[in-house]
Amino acid sequence: MRLRITLSAVLVTLFMWSGLFAFQRGRRGGFREYDEPLVTPADAGEKTEWAFARLKYPSPRYWNWTTDYPKADRQFVQGVRRLTRLHTRSVEQVVDVDTDEIYNWPWVYAVEVGRWDLTDPQCQRVRDYLLRGGFLMVDDFHGTQEWEVFMASMSRIFPDRPIVELENKDQIFHVLYDLDERFQVPGTAALYRGLTYEKDGVSPRWRAIMDDKGRVMVAICHNMDLGDSWEHADNPRYPEKYTSLGYRIGINYIIYSMTH
């Protein structure tokens, strides 16, 4: 009798846990960075033109793609809503690189790509996605070693396309905000140590991979952490100037992706 009760309790617990897991994967894809209760906005189910599409990719530590998730996504979206006419959803959309769902989201954001490790089919899908007109924004990876890891996959996506430094005059820095004066946007971890950089990523790099018409397909934010600038927009210890620039860069990248 006791065994039966124990087994039933275990099964019920497993069932409830798996249900919760499945629910989280459905919209949010799985893990969160924070443990605070996730409040689903009332308009979370609204159908909109654009949603913050976060790319879910494989890495040695499974959760790298979830960094800053979902607070950064949702706080950034509030800014996008307030500052532009773009019809946006209040909650993010997790897009698995293993599925064709990615083609329904022509703008995707990938974080901590200094740790991603894409398979060949995944590289092929991302390549197709970008050449069809998709836009990939990568962020929050620092220093030489993470750059090399990033490139290990990126060079398989585009073996023949160079990485170029974006110049101030590029439209991506003027499509909405004029961003001639940019500076390094630090993550909180570095900031609390009194620095603005991590590892050997002393200088921020705004880089890109262009298509045949000279349009940015992959916007590479190296040696900076825009995700933290969105996530900590409500953090009194995080300086406003970094958040402000982080929002402007993010919004410019979105508008650019929807105009080029």
């Binding site: 033109e49 006419r85 019809h87 329904n104 022509p106 499509v175």
Partner: protein, 752 residues
């Protein structure tokens, strides 16, 4: 047989006037008939009372009818019936024998050419018999009329046939000469203007009967002919052009044949078709790329079939002016949208279009792309010269009240007066959602927009071409029409759609969509408006056609490039030159027309308009165009293009020293080609000509009767003759038959 029974040919009865020669009035004949009928009825009535057993029922009535008819015939003869007919006086009248001497008469049939058959027919006694009664003038007819002495001078080499012009010349001679009749020997293959009503009326006015003798078979046993090919006279570089090819055939029903469109040695399009039943007109459509700018001489041909009798009618040539100008399109978008991005990318690939875009990124910021740095810096154009500089306009997700009242009217005038094209897209702020239905812009929208809100739905919608869409070049993303339909069916679903109400009268629905249980809704609707055109694309979700289809699929780009080319296709500049057709076969008269509009695109009545014509071998000439009194801003000139070859015409309009505008058109003159087509005898035309002029159509075997029957004519010098009818054999036979019938009936009934 007719002549045996009625004594005279039928043509005499047709031309003659019936008269009684006895001198008694016709009404007296009627009275006599009534009296005779009464007199005949009385004894029969009496006999019926006495012999009720043999003359019962309707028998007396039968006998009475037969007797009355017999008396009628006899009284008719007593009144001395006759025909009064105008007859050509012997040797005082001219008979014009006009022989078709065009190339089509050299067509080989039954062991010889049609020309040989004509010569043989004329020399078999027809001419001699005519000459016994009339002065005969022999003519050969080509593009014009020429007198000859004998049939052997016919060459069957004239590059064209203009029967109307030839008959006009004969009618002209008849005003000073006693032309009693015209005999036309032809295959009826007129290819230089046809017989117009004015020519026929002129001949009828002079009462000249035209007798026609038809040569040639009315149907070739084995032949395919391209009877028409319609292509636009002008198009943009790299545009998709549709050639509508009409053909018919005999003897190859059900067979496969290949139609090819070529530019020199380069094949532009090819399509295999199944030939329809004999004699049935068949229309096929071939789409091809017009290529780079310049005049393009396109040949449309169908492969010859085994045993085909005429191979020269398997190909036609057409000229297309491919314009190098790049039309400008302005696209205003009210919010950042994927549709905007992907339309821009599609048009970026089109070298022939320039697109300027204005995107409202925030409440008070507009992001401008394309065009010059100074273009639309103050927002959407508010002046004629700013907006009318574009040829096309796209209005995206923009509320109607974003535009001022002046701008709304300007947009309407842009289509109506300027002749521009406007395209409305679906969207969150578009159409009904943006109050367009209650604004002056509603006139331009090809549907009656619903008055409700919540018409824009972010739900999937599947697309499907309508019948009109299948035929429209706008929807052609695949050259082959059948494959095009299939490709549309396979397009991914749209990301969203908008309810746009019902199409207006005159609007054409090219594509429909379905979503959930809503049934079919209009997706792509077009309409003409004033001098321009308007379209509605009720979605902002076609970008999925690009993102969700394999790399290399060009459905999305093709559709949007076609759409924008359609949008600007009929939007011309301040001067629009035109000619009736691009290829003139055996015609030298060219009617030039130019429509001139001022800077505000209002008709310009005080312009000086000149055409500079560059002909073959570098000849150049200037022609002044004069204002057309009945049409404001229209200038015309007639000019003769003597030499065959290609011509380029540049029309330049000026007001004082200021240039209003200029336009360039091309055309081609060719000789002797049209004669290869419609080679079979056009009996219908010849019969129509003869019947409308009081003449008669003859087959070559009946030509011997011509000299007798031709005498009856109202034209020339005539005398009126009367021909007795009382002694027609038919009357005596009829009387005998009546009497015999009565006798037989009486024998049968036993009342003899």
């Amino acid at each position: 047989m007719f002549e045996l029974l009625f004594k005279y040919p039928a043509s005499l009865f047709a031309k003659g006037q019936f008269v009684f020669l006895a001198g008694w009035p016709p009404w007296a004949l009627g009275i006599c008939l009534v009296l005779a009928a009464a007199v005949l009825a009385y004894p029969l009535w009496k006999a019926r009372q006495q012999h009720a057993e043999t003359l019962g029922g309707m028998r007396p009535a039968g006998i009475w009818i037969l007797q009355t008819l017999l008396v009628t015939v006899l009284l008719f003869i007593l009144w001395h019936p006759a025909l009064s007919v105008a007859t050509l006086r012997p040797q005082q009248n001219i008979v014009a024998v006009v022989v078709d001497d065009s190339k089509s008469m050299s067509f080989q049939e039954a062991g010889g050419t049609r020309r040989d058959q004509v010569v043989q027919a004329l020399n078999s006694g027809v001419l001699k018999n005519l000459e016994k009664k009339f002065q005969v003038r022999l003519y050969r007819a080509g593009a014009s009329l020429e007198r000859i002495e004998k049939p052997e001078q016919l060459t069957a080499s004239a590059p064209s046939t203009n029967l109307g012009e030839s008959l006009k010349q004969v009618a002209g001679e008849a005003s000073s000469l006693p032309v009693g009749a015209v005999v036309l020997l032809s295959d009826g293959s007129d290819n230089a203007g046809g017989l117009d009503l004015a020519t026929i009326n002129e001949i009828r006015r002079q009462r000249i009967p035209v007798h026609t003798v038809g040569f040639g078979r009315e149907k070739l046993a084995h032949d395919i002919e391209i009877s028409g090919a319609d292509l636009p006279a002008r198009t943009l570089a790299d545009s998709r052009v549709s050639a509508i090819v009409t053909l018919h055939q005999n003897g190859y029903s059900g067979r496969k044949a290949r139609i090819t469109v070529k530019d020199g040695a380069k094949t532009l399009a090819t399509q295999e078709v199944t030939l329809k039943a004999d004699g049935i007109e068949q229309t096929e459509s071939l789409a091809f790329n017009a290529g780079s700018a310049g005049a393009r001489n396109v040949q449309i041909s169908i492969d010859p079939q085994a045993g085909e009798e005429n191979l020269t009618n398997n190909a036609v040539n057409r000229l297309i002016a491919v314009e190098g100008a790049k039309p400008r399109v302005l696209y205003i978008e009210g919010e950042p949208r994927w549709e905007f991005k992907f339309i821009r990318r599609a048009i970026d690939l089109d070298r022939s279009l320039l697109m300027s875009t204005m995107l409202r990124t925030t409440q008070n910021k507009i992001y401008r792309q394309g065009g010059s740095a100074s273009e639309n810096v103050d927002g959407f154009p508010a002046k004629v010269e700013e907006l009318f500089g574009y040829q096309g306009l796209i209005i995206g997700s923009v509320e109607a009240n974003y535009f001022t009242t002046t701008q709304q009217e300007l947009i309407r005038q842009f289509v109506d007066r300027r002749g521009g094209g406007v395209l409305f897209l679906g969207g969150r702020f578009a159409l009904s959602e943006g109050g367009v239905g209650k604004s002056p812009l509603a006139d331009l929208v090809p549907t009656v927009l619903p008055e409700k809100k919540d018409t824009f739905h972010r739900d999937p919608a599947n697309v499907e071409l309508t019948g009109a869409g299948r035929d429209s070049l706008l929807c052609r993303i695949e050259d082959n029409p059948d494959r095009n339909v299939e490709r549309w069916k396979k397009l991914p679903y749209l990301a969203n759609f908008q309810e746009v109400g019902t199409p207006k009268p005159g609007a054409v629905v090219l594509a429909e969509m379905s979503s959930g249980g809503r049934g079919k809704l209009p997706l792509l609707v077009t309409q003409n408006y004033g001098r321009g055109r308007a379209a509605l694309f009720a979605t902002a979700g076609s970008w999925r056609w690009q993102m969700t289809q394999p790399l290399g699929d060009n459905s999305h780009e093709m559709f949007w490039q076609q759409m924008l080319r359609w949008l600007v296709s009929g939007t011309y500049g301040h001067v629009v030159a035109s000619i009736p057709k691009s290829v003139f076969s055996d015609e030298t008269k060219i009617h030039l027309r130019a429509e001139v509009r001022d800077k505000a695109y209002l008709p310009s009545t005080d312009a000086r308009v000149e055409a500079r014509i560059m002909g073959p071998s570098g000849t150049a000439e200037s022609v002044e165009l004069r204002p057309e009194p009945t049409s404001e801003g229209v200038y015309v000139a007639d000019w003769t293009a003597e030499k065959p070859g290609s011509y380029v015409v540049e029309v330049l309009a000026k007001r004082g020293d200021d240039e209003v505008g200029r336009d360039v058109i091309t055309f081609r003159r060719e000789d002797g080609v049209a004669e290869n087509f419609h080679i079979q005898q056009n009996r219908e035309l010849l019969e129509k000509l003869s019947s409308q002029t009081g003449g008669k159509y003859y087959e070559p075997s009946q030509i011997g009767r011509l000299s007798d029957e031709i005498s009856y004519s109202e034209a020339g010098i005539t005398s009126r003759e009367t021909r007795d009818l009382w002694d027609m054999p038919i009357l005596f036979l009829f009387a005998l038959m009546l009497r015999s019938s009565e006798w037989l009936l009486r024998r049968k009934w036993g009342v003899v």
